[in-house]
Amino acid sequence: MSTVFIAFQTNEDTRPIVESILADNPHAVLDEQPAMVKINAEGQLVIKRESIEERIGRNFDLQELQINLITLSGNIDEDDDQFTLAWKN
């Protein structure tokens, strides 16, 4: 199984996003670096709009992720409700 990852700038916008990801992906591992927070996960990682909305108390468009995104690895699948990164092998 290969590792996927996603990294964001460390800031107030991304804190609830990172919390949601960790809650929704129990197998994910947090890696905090200077000014950057990276989340590694075996196989796949799912980001759910609803979980983020619960934490920030407003509507969230998953494309807003792009503002604070630094890098990622894996094949992407995105729709209105979730953003998935996966290596299918």
Binding site: Q63, Q66, T71, G74
Partner: protein
């Protein structure tokens, strides 16, 4: 009173279908193959452009909205940085030499990437990649502009920033390495460009460039660079995805595409890795406070992450590039070999160099247990001894350059780190030299392209690198001084050792003034 629209909004997929794919049309005044003349000559066969998938499904309206937000954030920080003397917050003015290398060597590539993606977007008959290339083209010019804006703050205070991103890239010997990398990709066809830049550079290698650079900037208190870096990097996930999508699309369209794509991956992975030598050197030597070693970054971002990627591509028959065996050896050497070169040629460089101090050498020993103490520490100790006696070593002979990657012949044989590695090819009665099996292979495959290389050392010897009107027969003619003048390097200010430089003295004085009342 506002009208409330109750119509249901389009879902992401529908919106993307209408606002991207739905914008395409078939030409009627001219046949499509005349409108897209570059679409076939490389031998890549595409049967159905409709099969192209863009996983981000970003439409132009959303693109502008998010890019505007990124710009607002960036410029707010840059204002704060300038208003608060942010330049005094860095660890040590030595750090700025890494920034000078970035401004002169990397920012111009952003501009070429802008042009290259505009051309690729124009040349692809499919609407999906055309829209994605258009967005990337706009991103890239934004990167060039924001980098130049951000770093212009340093130009008010420090040496070596005055020539900016445009002048020196066309001239200085070591900058021909990144320049020729992008130019050689741009002068290929649109599909090869996508494999060279979109896939090999953006997907396989970009993390090795930006992530350590930006973390390094954060570690060293450089808020300006962190901010433009992260702002640029936020576009990068989209670029990486475009590169990966493009390669999968080519491989799925026709089995005949596989050998062509594999050849390009092998070639551009090697070229990209050669360019990254400069980043390795920056990480291991130029950051006063280090983030991780080049070797560690290579292991995380290339060996592990690249491994996952190539596992995924294996189902199409793609193999890991051959050069990996050599890279596994090289990762313990290249950063040291590069810094040793710049130390010897500090008089001809647009930034300062220095010898690593005792603590830094211990860090290098710990990070490179197999190589540093054995091959490189003795060299630095020797140079330290010479410098202390007032005999600081400068190399006054111009080195031979690799005909392909244009790096001086400073790398060693994969099986013998005490022997310079070089290879020779004959073409039309002339001899051409390359630095490695990887570069020789590329040369032998396309000699007619690479014999045209503008090699800085050859050009100096041919007398093409002096200001106009220079008379080389005049009494007291000093070729090196003239070359520096043509480079726009101010001798004694921009070049030579950091120790004793204006940057060092000014930084100490200003920082002192900022923390004391006298």
């Amino acid at each position: 009173m506002d009208m409330k629209a109750n119509k249901k909004k389009l879902g992401l997929k529908e919106k993307y279908a209408h606002m991207t794919r739905g914008l395409d049309w078939q030409t009627t005044y001219q046949p499509m193959d005349k409108v897209f003349p570059q679409a076939t000559f490389e031998g890549i066969k595409i049967h159905d452009w409709e099969k192209w998938e863009d996983p981000f499904r970003l439409t132009m309206d959303a693109y502008w909205k998010y890019q505007a937000e990124k710009e607002r954030k960036l410029y707010a920080v840059l204002d704060a940085f300038a208003q608060n003397n942010g330049h005094l917050g860095i660890t040590d003015a030595r750090y700025l030499n890494a920034v000078k290398l970035f401004l002169t060597g990397i920012s111009p590539l952003e501009y070429v990437a802008h042009r290259g993606f505009a051309a690729a977007g124009r040349n692809f008959p499919g609407v999906g990649p055309r829209v994605a290339c258009l967005m990337q083209s706009i991103d890239e010019i934004r990167h060039a502009q924001t980098q130049i804006h951000a770093l212009s703050n340093y130009n008010k205070f420090y040496e070596g920033f005055h020539a900016g991103a445009a002048h020196q890239i066309e001239r200085i010997w070591y900058l021909s390495v990144p320049k020729s990398f992008f130019d050689d990709a741009f002068s290929a066809g649109p599909f090869e460009w996508m494999i060279a830049i979109g896939f090999s550079f953006e997907y396989v290698l970009t993390n090795l460039l930006f992530v350590p650079f930006m973390s390094g900037a954060a570690y060293n208190g450089d808020m300006a660079t962190v901010t433009f870096g992260f702002s640029a990097q936020s576009d990068e996930a989209r670029h990486m995805t475009l590169g990966l999508e493009c390669i999968k699309f080519m491989l799925e369209q026709d089995p005949d595409n596989l050998p062509i794509v594999q050849k390009w991956i092998d070639k551009w992975a090697w070229r990209g890795i050669r360019v990254l030598t400069l980043v390795g050197m920056m990480m291991d030597y130029m950051l006063p406070k280090r983030v991780m070693s080049w070797k560690e970054a290579w292991e995380i971002y290339f060996e592990q992450n690249g491994g996952a990627l190539f596992n995924d591509l294996a189902k199409y028959g793609i193999k890991v590039p051959d050069c990996i065996t050599q890279c596994t050896v090289d990762k313990e050497h290249i950063s040291h070999q590069a810094w040793c070169t710049f130390y010897q040629y500090a008089h001809a460089s647009a930034f300062h160099t220095w010898l690593p101090n005792a603590e830094e050498m211990d860090w290098l020993s710990a990070k490179y247990p197999n190589t540093f103490d054995k091959y490189y520490r003795p060299r630095y100790e020797q140079w330290r001894e010479m410098a202390d006696k007032g005999e600081r070593f400068y190399n006054n002979t111009l080195p031979m350059l690799c005909q392909v990657c244009q790096i001086p012949m400073v790398f060693t044989e994969p099986d013998d780190p005490s022997k310079i590695c070089y290879r020779e090819s004959d073409y039309q009665g002339e001899k051409y030299h390359t630095c490695s099996d990887g570069c020789k292979h590329i040369f032998d495959d396309e000699p007619e392209k690479y014999i045209q290389a503008w090699l800085p050392v050859h050009q100096i010897y041919q007398g093409n690198c002096w200001p106009e009107g220079t008379d080389p027969t005049a009494e007291g003619f000093d070729p090196m001084a003239k070359v520096l003048e043509w480079y726009h390097i101010e001798n004694g200010k921009d070049n030579l050792d950091y120790e004793g430089s204006g940057d060092q003295a000014n930084f100490a004085a200003w920082r002192g003034a900022a923390t004391q009342n006298t």
